[in-house]
């Protein structure tokens, strides 16, 4: 059983592509080898900035010989048929065998495919893998036609068994495979030959290359932590940065530096972002001061001066970068203290979307909505409105221009510098949240008001101009906005009638906009010159154009708004289903609940769903569902057949059996209990009350035939079933429950 070692040695592979490339190489090779009939014991893939390596252990030396038997034409068939058969099998007539078949004598062919040596198969599979490698971006170089992520310099491909190592004969676009590689670009640049994976890894290590990225990561982590520990500092963990840096070096040499005092007053987020984005430094925090006071840079080389020159250089570059940052910050603070009016004006000329006006227009809408939402979330309306007006002003600041990922974070600092209350400043930082399913949800009332308004404005805006997500396309991240609304509402237990809120906002977009340069006037940065649905929508809404005072048209647009809102609610429901499914709640349960009135109150929907979900896990719940469905089915059939609705007047006096009487009694108890519990929104209690019907319903069906010949009895029993159905409908639409 030979072992296979492949190395593709190239110019520097982008760090972000390495992990995926390792996996692709492993999969392409193992899949190809297996498909060709080889087996293997294990396969491991590795990467450094300059190489992709695959080591396969226990590869079969040959693919097995296969035999295939194929049935041909009858022996008395015309010659042409026989010739065709010979052609397709590649055999001659004397290699065929005539056998008796049901319809007479028939030719049979046995095709033998001899096994092939592993080297031959490896060469084919590797060449195909190189030519079709799925790099996210690939390139040509020199005069060649080959594509790789960066120029490919050499291919190592050897099979090793007890007899020694053998190079697999292979040439791809002028590169012939061999058994040599090179070490570190500067510390050990010479070529050397290897005999197998262990030899390869050991020689690479001597040649200052750490092959395994996981080892490089561990090395960087532990050395960085040691360096920090020696000063009493802690490294700010950053797994993404760690993986990236491990993909930039073959021989990691972490070096620790100190941030000059003059930069320590910069916000820690600024220090961290600048060092990470520009220089790929790790930040070191001093736990005593809580500040970021140092950094770790990871060099790719050991130098005679122990990195002194390298560290000095990095320190110098950092100082230049942080001087820029400090300059931006000082300028921004000056503007912040002056009230940020320039920024607010500047946002008038920043287009949010050409059909939805400028950022300034958008902020005005959000502010109005935040004011409206404020009482629902327990926020002061003036604060909510002001917070919304300030929250996005930092988009015009120099710092956010330089580091877009600091949006909001800087907004908070600038709002504080402007002397705004803490709650308003926090809203600037928090109003973008939550950004994903696991991100923290804001809970401070002002933040919630602005965060919710921000997302609702986004959703209603894009719904109004009919730019909804389709398939995998969601360029405006509307799914994320919808999930944000859901998580804000649920996380803060907000009782909002979403539909009405959407309609109000859709209709009021227009009313807000009274300035002559804003949305909906078809000028400046607003709408383009082509009139369309959305323009009319907004023009109408803004009370401009043809809208004012015309009741009929107003009604028409109100109707449009209601339709958009209904459609948007359905989208929100879809996202809610995805969200709840991740929480372990079945989609059919959510559907059953969504069929109930009040489904635009998401908290209500979730509380109902959770309680129903819990009940359906119990034995009573499962059987009850069956009973309710059975009652429903019998009733529906009878109603269809008779053309009437049995919904009134079951009378206990017509009850014939104990089971019927027991059901009457149980319903008499359960009905008011369910009603009261649902009214109080105590869904667990409602579930308990309806679950109590399980035994009586089961007993009833056991004892009684509903469709009795006696019409009076039949009608009475159907009316009794109707009470069961009604009891169920108080909770959910059980017909939608599966199973």
């Amino acid at each position: 059983m030979p072992d296979l070692l492949i190395e593709l040695f190239s110019e520097e592979i982008p760090a972000r592509m390495q992990a995926r490339a390792r996996e692709d190489l492993r999969k392409l090779l193992t899949d190809g080898l297996v498909e060709a009939g080889l087996t293997y014991a294990s396969a491991g893939a590795f990467s450094t900035p300059r190489r992709l390596t695959l080591a396969i252990e226990g590869l079969s030396a040959n693919s097995p010989t296969t035999r295939e038997e194929r049935k041909g034409p009858r022996t008395d068939a015309p010659d042409a048929a026989l010739e065709g058969f010979l052609r397709s099998t590649g055999l001659t007539r004397d290699q065929l065998e005539a056998r008796d078949d049901k319809k007479g004598q028939v030719w049979f062919a046995t095709i033998t495919r001899p096994g092939r040596p592993a080297a031959e198969i490896v060469a084919e599979v590797l060449e195909a893998a190189i030519r079709n490698f799925p790099w996210p971006k690939s390139m040509r170089w020199g005069s060649g036609n080959m594509r790789w992520v960066r120029p490919l310099h050499s291919i190592m491909c050897i099979l090793t068994d007890e007899a020694g190592a053998q190079v697999v004969p292979l040439t791809v676009e002028g590169i012939t495979a061999g058994d040599t590689t090179r070490g570190h670009r500067f510390m050990a640049p010479d070529a050397f030959a290897v005999t197998g994976f262990d030899d390869y890894a050991a020689k690479l290590r001597r040649a200052r290359v750490m092959l395994d990225s996981a080892e490089r990561e561990a090395e960087i982590r532990s050395q960085a932590e040691n360096l920090a520990f020696a000063r009493g500092w802690q490294i700010v963990p950053d797994d993404g940065l760690l993986a990236e840096v491990a993909g930039l070096v073959e021989w990691p040499v972490p070096l620790m530096g100190v941030i000059e005092d003059r930069f320590l007053d910069l916000p820690p987020e600024v220090l961290q972002t600048s060092m990470k984005e520009h220089q790929k430094f790790f930040s070191a925090r001093n736990p005593k001061t809580g500040r970021i006071e140092g950094f770790v840079t990871v060099a790719n080389i050991e130098t005679p001066d122990d990195g002194t020159t390298i560290l000095a250089g990095n320190q110098r570059v950092l100082a230049a970068r942080l001087s820029d940052a400090a300059f931006f910050y000082e300028n921004d603070l000056r503007e912040a203290r002056a009230g940020m009016t320039h920024w607010a004006e500047g946002l008038q000329s920043v287009t949010f979307h050409n059909k939805l006006g400028s950022q300034a227009d958008r902020i005005a809408r959000i502010a109005a909505l935040a004011r409206e939402i404020a009482p629902l979330v327990g926020a002061d309306p003036d604060h909510a409105e002001e917070a919304a007006q300030l929250a996005k002003l930092d988009l015009r600041s120099s710092m956010v221009g330089e580091f877009p990922e600091l949006q909001g974070t800087m907004g908070r600092y600038y709002a504080l510098a402007a002397g705004k209350p803490q709650a308003i400043a926090d809203a600037a930082r928090d109003h973008y949240s939550p950004l994903g399913p696991s991100d923290d949800v804001p809970t401070a009332p002002v933040s919630v008001a602005v965060a919710l308004s921000d997302k609702i404005d986004t959703l209603t805006g894009f719904w109004a101009i009919d730019e909804k997500p389709t398939g995998s396309k969601d360029p405006f991240a509307l799914r994320r906005a919808a999930l944000g609304v859901i998580r804000l509402v649920l996380g803060n237990n907000l009782r909002v009638h979403s539909t009405q809120c959407f309609i109000n906002h859709l209709m009021s977009k227009c009313l807000i906009d009274t300035n002559p340069h804003g949305t909906g006037r078809g000028d400046g940065y607003g709408f383009g010159p082509q009139p369309d649905y959305s323009i009319e929508f907004f023009v109408m809404a803004s009370g401009g154009g043809f809208g004012g005072g015309d009741d009929q048209k107003a009604a028409f647009w109100a109707d449009e708004a209601a339709q958009a809102a209904t459609d948007l609610l359905a989208f929100l429901h879809d996202r809610l289903k995805v969200y709840l499914r991740d929480q372990g709640i079945r989609h059919d349960i959510i559907d059953a609940v969504l069929a109930q009135p009040g489904n635009d109150d998401l908290v209500l929907v979730v509380n109902r769903s959770v309680a129903l979900n819990d009940m359906l896990k119990t034995e009573d719940g499962k059987n009850l569902t069956q009973g309710l469905k059975r009652a429903g089915n019998i009733l529906t059939q009878a109603e269809e057949k008779d053309g009437v609705e049995y919904s009134f007047g079951a009378d206990e006096k017509f009850a014939e059996t104990e089971a019927e009487r027991a059901l009457f009694k149980a319903l008499d108890t359960a009905e008011p209990a369910i009603r009261q519990a649902t009214k109080a929104e105590d869904f667990p209690a409602a579930m308990q009350a309806i679950a109590a019907l399980r035994a009586p319903i089961d007993a009833f069906f056991e004892a009684v035939q509903v469709n009795s010949d006696n019409q009076i009895l039949r009608r009475n029993r159907l009316n009794l079933l109707s009470r069961i159905r009604e009891a169920g409908r108080q909770i959910a639409d059980f017909t939608k429950i599966e199973g």
Binding site: A15, M139, R140, W141, P151, D305, G313, V350
Partner: protein, 308 residues
Amino acid sequence: MTSPNRPRSFQEIILRLQNYWAATGCAVLQPYDMEVGAGTFHPATTLRSLGSRPWAAAYVQPSRRPTDGRYGENPNRLQHYYQYQVIIKPSPPDLQDLYLGSLRAIGLDPMIHDVRFVEDDWESPTLGAWGLGWEVWCDGMEVSQFTYFQQVGGHDCRPVSGELTYGLERLAMYVLGVEHVMDMPFNDPDSPIPLTYGDIFRQTEREYSRWNFDQVDTAMLFQHFKDAEDECARILAADPEDSAGRRIPMAHPAYDQAIKASHIFNLLDARGVISVTERQAYIGRVRALAKACADLFLTTDAAREDAA
């Protein structure tokens, strides 16, 4: 950084690069005599990276980026600066090693410094060009751009050119250990008349910053943009044969007009008179010119290996 090999002035770094690349066999060209934003715009790069004819050139290119003007006060930003540009077609297999040799030549020894190739894809929307490569880091500072051209003017590059661009001021400040560009020795500090970068450029940076940001006549610029665009189109549309029946397509004169339009656009941008939406449209107009020039260049003898 106190190696004896260390250069002493800005001009010495340029001279060493010139000598180094001359020794590798590049034709050492002179700067293009028009205002450009980067060395890539020099026809020796843009046009000569097209077609199959081998090419190897190195040159200094004065470059202008009006928006980067800071009145000579910022230690690192200038509206007029120098790039060193190397372009070799087809890209040789040892281009990385050649490049590292040039760093050694200017006193950056990769055994003492930390030299890294960090992913950076290059794209020029105005030239309809893109390529893959890296920014080269030395001790955490970007000292060069290293690009394998894949497309220029909308055409696939076959063969592929390798392009190296050094930001000379930044690189030299690092090599010379200078904190502010204006303090950098331009000639040898021990010269009878030592001159700093500031002695030569502080005044011009101030003047051009003012002109670029506040003074340049925008109505005139809009007109000049249009003139350049029209003239470019006219040249491109001209009969490739002259009155004597000789085939002389005029790709280079047309391309000059494209360069001109591009620089005028940069000035208008610095003046802040181009809105976000218009910006894209202007870039698209310059790209259309550059592409048409590339198309025409490919029909010339200079683009073909077999041509005399």
